[in-house]
Symmetry: C2
Subunit: 304 residues, 2 copies
């Protein structure tokens, strides 16, 4: 048996065929090239039709929320995808092959459960820190959906009083400690420090630049990264205290370079978290890297 996994991101589309024992048989990807609305849907259906291997089911990871009852998708970073009828479009090309759509954050933890670092776990969380921040939360083997399918929106976690207007668009945690947040915080600090003439004073600053500058002991980068570590640790502690999970898996583009801070994050989280739960949890980096969404979409297709 083989399944097709589709991972739609904000900038690219990846597809892979997996055997039911987790072997990746085929892999391909396409840049979105600023496509929007129906052009993204057409890219997906065209790409699926070009897959050369017969599959028994299709799983799709989407960068947002799937409204399961209606089969529509809200993907905030894809213009025109406020309520996109992806399931209906897929059904026009899939014939009798069943199609399952799931949020990317849910797919990440399912991928880790299947072939990554959460194998054997029933209560585990994937903390995805990339451009944005989200959490895929597995409880007793089931993905936490919430009453309307939008659980795990941890980018909105309130961690730093008092409320700032900069939190309005994407939440306190995400606005300070996502990839974009790291850049925004660095730019604010540079703005406040006219005398600063370090390596971060450049055009098109990226989170990678901030990590590189941290390694060179740039004082603004150090301030930004230490603040991020503190916030990642508080969020970790809150997941530990609320969910009492076996594992928290850190992934997304930021973990990545932030993976080296995991021992520091663990030590700082231990100051905040319920102490018994903290002793029981293990913190690990993703075992699947950028393929976690593909593995999870495949698992979703295999195990519905």
């Amino acid at each position: 048996m083989a399944v097709l996994a589709v991972d739609l991101g904000g900038t690219k589309l990846a597809l892979a065929v997996f055997s039911d024992d987790g072997e990746m048989l085929h892999r391909t990807s396409y840049p979105l090239d600023k496509r929007a609305g129906k052009a993204v849907g057409a890219l997906i259906t065209d790409a699926v039709q070009q897959i050369p291997i017969q599959v028994n089911a299709i799983g799709i990871a989407v960068p947002g929320i799937c409204r399961h009852q209606r089969g529509t998708v809200w993907a905030p970073n894809i213009p025109g995808w406020e309520d996109y009828p992806l399931l209906a479009e897929m059904k026009t090309i899939a014939g009798n092959t069943p199609v399952f759509i799931e949020s990317d954050r849910s797919c990440y933890i399912l991928g880790e459960i299947w072939q990554g670092n959460a194998q054997g776990c029933k209560d585990a969380i994937f903390l995805a820190v990339g451009t944005g921040i989200g959490a895929g939360i597995l409880i007793n083997g089931e993905v936490l959906q919430g009453s309307k399918g939008i659980a795990g929106a941890i980018g909105w976690m309130a961690l730093d009083r008092p409320f700032q207007n900069t939190y309005t668009d994407c939440g306190c945690f995400e606005s300070m400690a996502s990839g974009e947040g790291i850049v925004k915080v660095a730019l604010q600090l540079i703005l406040k420090d006219p005398a600063y003439n370090g390596i971060l004073r450049k055009d098109a600053l990226s989170a990678q630049d901030v990590f590189a500058a941290y390694r060179k002991n740039d004082h603004i980068a150090v301030e930004v990264i230490l603040q991020s570590i503190s916030l990642w640790a508080m969020a970790t502690a809150n997941l530990v205290s609320l969910f009492n999970p076996e594992k928290i898996i850190f992934g997304g583009g930021v973990f990545g370079p932030a993976a080296e801070f995991l021992p520091v994050i663990a030590a700082e989280a231990a100051r905040w978290a319920q102490p018994i739960s903290m002793k029981q949890v293990r913190l690990e980096v993703s075992g699947l890297g950028t393929d976690a969404g593909l593995y999870g979409a495949a698992y979703r297709a295999l195990h519905d």
Copy 2:
């Protein structure tokens, strides 16, 4: 069919017999009178044996954690109950009547689901703010236990950077915004303000005193209560963003007098929380008051 509900608190033991349609047929309670260890166990078994009505099952709410596999209880406010063999003791007197033990916070939300303000909900949370703070979390109709049964320890939620040593014993949220926390924060402010000669400068200050002083516009009480409102709102927002629940029910001794602030808490939470989830949730005060634990213990006995 009738069931016996037992609610063990930090200072008293309550027992009630319920019919399976939720009618309370009998109710009694005993002060713990500073009993510890086996004396508390003996109080429970004696009280159960004196119940004059035949019951089909017994549910017990405990102020801490039940280790379900071993049937033992960790109750931090009862000396000698680090790992108390309550299930084994109950079995010596219960004969063939099944006995179920559950944490008080889990019982609170089960009680509200059965006979209180969460009837009809499958995803609902009880935020219990009393001497301490805990959350009973219902996900798709099931109580969230976590990998080792200690989920819902929301008193440890990290909400206010940087870390303070005052958070060490019971967590950031609980140390600032529980009943005991309100008193501690007030005492700290009084200590810092030698000129203060208001109504809170008294012996044996209680949270009730702080609420009463707030109503008289005492400036220290106002500062303490406004800070508590801000923290209750952040915790509410975090529950909304993570769990996407239908309802959050506020209970415990502090709600209570803090119930009047629910509209303010909702407005402040809406600044922090995932905005779609926030629109979907309803915030309400407990419909069962101090009996929520009894109702939940009965429901647990009826529906295992």
